[in-house]
Amino acid sequence: MKTLFLFLLACAAAFAEAPDDRFEKAKRAMSDSDYGEAAYQLRELVSESNFSHGALHNLGNAEWKVVRPGHAILAWERAALINPRDTNTAANLAFARHKAELPSPALSWTESYSTWLSPNVWLAAASLGFWGGVMLLTLPRLLGARRADWHQGIAALSLTAFLFTIPALFGLSRRGNLGVALEDATPLRLTPTREGEELVKLPAGELARVEKERGNYLYVRADGDRAGWVRREEFERIWSRR
């Protein structure tokens, strides 16, 4: 009986902590203009490794309202990662960069191309294209059947689709190093030490690329070749490594 009670209690607790509940709670707080509470609820969701496009989009709005532009841009960038076709998230990013006078991220053509679809859609397309083509070319022979014209036609189409995904996969691997400066005037240091000379400061929300890591420091390069060591707490990769 006691075990059953504890089990029911655990179930109830788990239900209370459901991501959708927190999402709704945050939405209500936003409607009541309680942005601090909304940001808190959504931050808790993210810290528990619960990510969704809607939650990240709303987290960006809440962070913007509580004047944390770096965190807002990070949340919107992550929302755009999950759903790159959402125009609201793209508009918010444009709005934030316009207001904070931040440069738009300089992406290579492969990186821009990779933003057309979400990373997992690209991966699925590449896998299906490659293995579909290979299967259609090899299976008839292995199963002792004659290779028909349509086999070859669809195999050619699949492999062509795979070829189109290769630049996107390359772009994705490069975008994995992009991150956001979280706090305003984030210093870029000459050496990866606390006493390292400050070379330049990044405004909150500016994008930069991680080039190397050492201990608690990341070597990042921002627009205009501004590069230096930044503390991990002050900079967050868009694609979490968790």
Binding site: P19, D20, F23, K27, M30, D32, S33, D34, Y35, G36, E37, Y40, S49, N50, F51, S52, H53, G54, A55, H57, N58, N61, W64, K65, V66, V67, R78, L81, I82, N83, N88, T89, A91, N92, A94, F95, H98, P119, N120, L123, S127, W131, V134, M135, T138, L139, R141, L142, L143, G144, L169, L172, S173, G176, I238, W239, S240, R241, R242
Partner: protein, 602 residues
């Protein structure tokens, strides 16, 4: 051994005091032992730790109601410092951690707490598990007896915290200079404000990076405090409550009641009590032109013009500065009205904070306009309507930027041809409508699909494993095809395999018949088994093999040959009704030998 040496070193001074020294004939006169200024908290001996599986928990003696008593957990065998264990709840006892755990010289880690009892009596902290280093450490039970407080002794007073802000009504959008005060008590002194963790209320809560020591008056007495400046901007009209949760480092004094004794550093999460104030909407009446959201008390500097005599088409700059305390960070530049005489551009803004500790909002915002005269003979720059709202006077104040005298002369640059002059107009038209400024969009109505990682599948092990599946599938199909081709090229392999299976089946039937003593069935099964086993060695089918053909195959093995002959003969005799003396169980070993011989040949 090390521990024995360590104990001997510790005990040496005591032994030296107690035992007479033979080489010293005249001992020094005894000196009065000074009373200790304070008593160190007792440390648990190491021996009980070993007995309790490497962990001990104990309170210091002398616990009294309302006063903190040190409680410590000592764990042996950990290689690094960990977060302090969560103490189970005990009614009437409140626990607080005091700083980071410490490591003793003999390799134990000590987690320090203070417990504040709320009543007299015996309290028991139950035994509990503490996960550390991949194992569960059992922290043993600990007890403390709490006596009544001494006469006149005050209860433990934790740090006081409050949000200090001006006592008046505020307006929506106004930036309120406030501060969070952490006021010392006889028992706790704030040392450092680490983080403002959570705020609530319909406000924007902006926390400054610095904090400073101040003196505040509490109930007529002056006390030291730490003030953390914050800027609060209400977003909604009506009664508003604002509060926050702050992580503060505090110094806990006189723990254990030894005044002037040991101070303990600790980290406390403090819920700053709500502060209530009323938020009013901006008045709708009396609003003046050029209001761009500035709320506060400001002064406008004299406009600065880059030159008072320019040629037509030559740009000039007009700079104005707004200085004062208010929401200057969010104030936009006043817009220039359309003017036939001047071409105008979007102004630039620059905000310079005064960094005055007594006036945290004091700053100067400078708006710089670029203006180009369109014709000669213009006498002045255009007036720019501008106003702000003064929350103290509760009215809008007009600070319109007055026209500045200007002399615009005709351009000395020769006029371009007529065709060329019309070109910019065409270009202007070709540009299309004015660019729309981006704006913040609404909230997402639904959360969408939840995922537990933002890491793309490309970097996941399961994705790479999934890519191996088609390879394995294709390899299996290829192996199957190769096997089939091999069997087609070598049909005797399949024939032998089938013959062995049929012979094994028939042998099984023969064994059953032998066990039951059924001679007829035994002979039928035996002849079939011999024929099946011999079939791969001949071109004929198993059923059509004759006795002579089988015997020919077995001609080099006398025992097998005789067995086959006997079985065939008896079978023949049985077929024609003769019941010869045959003992199947005796024939079984010979039959098995014969079949083994045939299998070996095949």
């Amino acid at each position: 051994m090390k521990r024995i040496l360590f104990n001997l070193i510790l005990a040496a001074p005591l032994l030296a005091q107690q035992s007479p020294v033979a080489s010293d004939p005249a001992p020094a006169p005894p000196r009065p032992v000074p009373a200790p200024r304070f008593v160190l908290p007792q440390q648990d001996p190491v021996l009980p730790l070993a007995l309790n599986g490497g962990a001990a928990a104990s309170f210091d003696a002398g616990a009294r109601v309302g006063r903190p008593v040190p409680f410590r957990i000592t764990v042996l065998g950990l290689t690094r410092l960990l977060d302090s264990p969560q103490i189970p709840e005990v009614e009437g006892l409140t626990f607080q951690t005091t700083g980071r755990p410490s490591m003793t010289g003999d390799g134990a880690i000590v987690f320090n707490y203070i417990a504040i009892p709320s009543r007299v009596g015996r309290f028991v902290v139950p035994s509990f598990e503490f996960p550390a280093g991949g194992r569960n450490i059992t922290i043993p039970q600990a007890r403390v007896d709490v006596a009544d407080a001494l006469p006149g002794e005050a209860r433990y007073q934790p740090l006081l915290a409050s949000i200090d802000m001006p006592k008046r009504d505020f307006y929506v959008g106004e930036t309120i200079p406030a501060r969070i005060l952490f006021i010392e008590t006889p028992d706790e002194t704030p040392t450092y404000v680490q983080h403002v963790a959570k705020t609530s209320g319909s406000v924007v809560f902006r926390v400054e990076n610095m904090h400073r020591s101040v003196e505040v008056e509490v109930e007529g007495a002056k006390r030291r405090a730490i003030a953390k400046p914050v800027q609060i901007t209400p977003l909604k009209e009506g009664p508003t409550d604002v509060n926050c949760q702050v992580i503060v480092h505090v110094q806990k004094r006189d723990v254990g009641g030894f005044r002037g004794g040991i101070n303990m550093q600790g980290q406390s999460t403090i819920d700053v009590p709500s502060t209530h104030f009323n938020v009013l909407p901006l008045p709708t009446t009396g609003r003046l032109p050029g209001f761009t959201g500035a709320i506060g008390q400001f002064a406008l500097s004299a406009p600065k013009v880059s030159g008072n005599e320019v040629e037509m088409g030559e740009p000039i700059t007009l700079a104005i500065s707004l200085t004062g305390e208010g929401n200057l960070a969010g104030v936009s530049a006043p817009e220039l009205p359309d003017n036939a005489d001047w071409q105008t551009y979007k102004p630039t803004t620059d905000l310079a904070a005064a960094n005055d500790e007594d006036a945290p909002l004091l700053a100067t915002k400078t708006f710089t306009y670029t203006l180009v005269p369109k014709r000669a003979g213009v006498r002045a720059t255009p007036a720019i309507p501008f106003s702000y709202f003064d929350p103290v006077k509760a009215q809008f104040i007009d600070v319109t930027i007055p026209p500045q005298p200007m002399k615009v002369t005709a351009s000395t640059v020769p006029e371009p041809p007529a065709v060329a002059t019309e070109k910019p107009k065409e270009e202007e038209e070709a540009k299309g409508p004015k660019r729309i400024e981006p704006a913040l969009t609404g909230l997402a109505e639904s959360s969408g699909l939840w995922t537990h990682s933002l890491r793309p599948a490309l970097w996941s092990r399961w994705f790479l494993a999934l890519q191996l599946t088609p390879i394995v599938f294709l390899a299996a199909l290829w192996a199957r095809r190769k096997s089939r081709e091999h069997h087609a090229a070598n049909p005797q392999i399949m024939r032998r395999r089938k013959a062995r299976a049929a012979a094994r089946l028939a042998l099984g039937e023969a064994r059953n018949a032998a066990r039951l003593g059924d001679s007829t069935a035994f002979l039928t099964a035996s002849t079939r088994a011999i024929r099946e086993a011999a079939a791969p060695l001949d071109t004929a089918q198993a059923g059509s093999l004759t006795q002579e053909e089988v015997l020919h195959i077995l001609r080099d093995d006398e025992r097998a040959s005789q067995t086959a002959r006997a079985i065939f003969d008896h079978a023949e005799a049985h077929r024609y009704g003769a019941n010869g003396a045959i003992k199947p169980d005796k024939l079984m070993p010979d039959l098995e030998h014969t079949l083994a011989r045939l299998s070996a040949k095949a």
